[in-house]
Symmetry: C2
Amino acid sequence: MNMFMEKAIENANKAFSKNEVPIGAVIVLDGKIISSGFNKREKTKNALHHAEIIAINKACKKLKSWRLENCEMYVTLEPCPMCAGALANARIKKVYFGANDRTSSDHLFEKILTSNRLNHKCEFQQLEEYQESCAKLLTKFFKQNRKS
Amino acid sequence: MNMFMEKAIENANKAFSKNEVPIGAVIVLDGKIISSGFNKREKTKNALHHAEIIAINKACKKLKSWRLENCEMYVTLEPCPMCAGALANARIKKVYFGANDRTSSDHLFEKILTSNRLNHKCEFQQLEEYQESCAKLLTKFFKQNRKS
């Protein structure tokens, strides 16, 4: 059991309970969670408010720096291009994700994080033991939403 | 002369005067500028604070919507992956940029904006008549910074 991913899932569940697409994230520095976020695009009516962006925003404020160089992120879903770019821009050391993004046939996530264009390469790793639980949460949400 | 790009350049100049990498943007709806932004990563110590993200954030607040469907952006430099992803997520109709990004050998910007992964395709066009002036502003900034 990975305590940090469990916390990210807790955040995803908070999003679910508020009728938002259930994705959650935490940022960890020196073994401690320094910020967290869950998707709140509908509530705040803001296209930028993905879990990852909210967590990065809070971490920059907390550390008073745009460089999150020794920080790691745990997020329930493989990040979208915006969030992948933000991870690189914030110089996050490594991102661990739960479910992979099945719509991502063009591997943009990997292309962005391994791009020579960016000054920083953020490492990435799927925690495969979380694939099922993180994906199920999303499926459940979309099924429920289609019904209502 | 493109009035909107001229305004974006004005914003880039504001960034320059505050010792930030000089990039500026505006968002236009129905022929009017509804929001603008310039890079302030150093001042706010926030990795997310690129010109485009600031402008999108303001536009979402102004329109009380995460969907900026009929909006267009004018920005002085070809957007980075984070900002390209944000343009798609915000469903911006079209982005016009001044200088192209010479470091972008892997064409990530185009790959992100034409990806089938995203629900929305944001059109894009370089205003080639602005390549030189927008690029020069950046060169001048980096030269000055290297000296000091």
